[in-house]
Amino acid sequence: MALTPIQRRISQLAIAKQSVQGTPATTPAYQFGLASGRIVDATITEADLDLTWDNRIAEGAERTMVVPMVEWETVTTPTVAGLLLLLALGTDTVTGSSAPYTHTFTPAAGLGYCTIWGRQDANYWQVSDAKIGELEFSFNKAGALRTKAKAWGGVITPLSSLWSGAADSRLSGGYFTAVGGVGQIDSASPGAIVEGSFKFNNNLEAIASAFQVTPAAIFEKLAVLDSSLKIIPPDVTLWRKILTGTTSGTTVAATPYFGTEVVKWILDANTDLQITAARIQLMTQFPELAAAGGPAEVTVTGKGRNPASGAAWTVVLRNTVAAY
């Protein structure tokens, strides 16, 4: 029998926001390629369902829930990044009457639904009534800014043909790097930032219903921002500040240290992406020694917290998209 395997190289995702739950978007806004992940997935939860009988063989099993999901990694391009940020944070405030438009993304009380289309070779699937649960931006040295995302959905549907109408988001259109950008802790450079990540987590919960096996809804819980920056510091003032509360402190502080973080990535003069954490609980270690020598490095982790006023975290994106 002839075998024609599935070509994994031919893998694409497309995405569009939905106006309401229960009505999948008809046309994707953007389509893009992937570095890793699956174009469609489902977490299937099953359990033994056992009764006694006249032998020693298990009688059966039950399926209690199926959560459609899509998880992927790609390179951060300016068009798709904005749509994912709107879906993951909830608020997009646009200013500007012509390109470049400035999108200010901040955490909202609730999140919108989206439809995700996936294609692998000649297999086409759609996950709708989905929300973006996790969205992570990571960078390593001067390389491309990466995006990782996880979405959970309420409906999974096989499609008979490829979608159409999506705008291409490809590397030829440009992508963000940290070259020429900004990396600051407490409004100052902490040294050489080698790599880092910012992860937004909406702690999604799939609401189970006894009357259907797929989720009745996807619901967002605590909004979390976790950051990590690997730094070659010129001194240990950051460690001292976290320990004592000030750069010259001599006694251990009785409270955590809350600072600020700003990282900005650039594509060109009119296209950039900046994440600002207005109040972030910082933690680091005193640099580890090394018998072989070399520059000391530390990893500074942060957890976004509510400031007294204003948004806890803000992402500002400048691009050519007037509205998502």
């Binding site: 299937i44 033994d48 829930m65 999108h103 919108g112 702690n203 819980k221 605590l222």
Partner: protein, 101 residues
């Protein structure tokens, strides 16, 4: 004699330095698109517009409350965390087996 309740709803005043538009959710099930022109505007207290100004545009500096009515609008705070743990999957964890298809 008690004062008659005014027919007109109470209003709050806000200032926007530039025109803004966008999208936000004022609660978990109520998602709205908005557009405001630059300048000073008045909106009804308790209206959707006021929720947008207070919850989405004031925290980002796009809108500034300019009277006491506007300042009394509560900004959103986080719900108490049920758990600090980050879940890998949102499905219920009661079951005995789980696999990915």
């Amino acid at each position: 004699m008690p004062r008659a309740k005014p027919d007109a709803p109470e209003q709050s005043r806000w200032r926007l330095d530039e025109a803004v538009r966008g999208e936000t959710a004022i609660d978990a099930s109520n998602r709205v698109e908005f557009e405001f022109a630059a300048g000073e505007i008045s909106v009804d207290v308790g209206s959707v517009d006021e929720a947008i100004l207070a919850r989405a545009l004031t925290p980002t500096g796009h809108a500034v409350p300019v009277d006491d009515n506007a300042k009394t609008v509560a900004l959103p705070g986080p719900e108490p965390a049920e758990s600090a743990a980050v879940e890998d999957a949102p499905a219920s964890a009661d079951e005995t087996s789980e696999e990915t298809a």
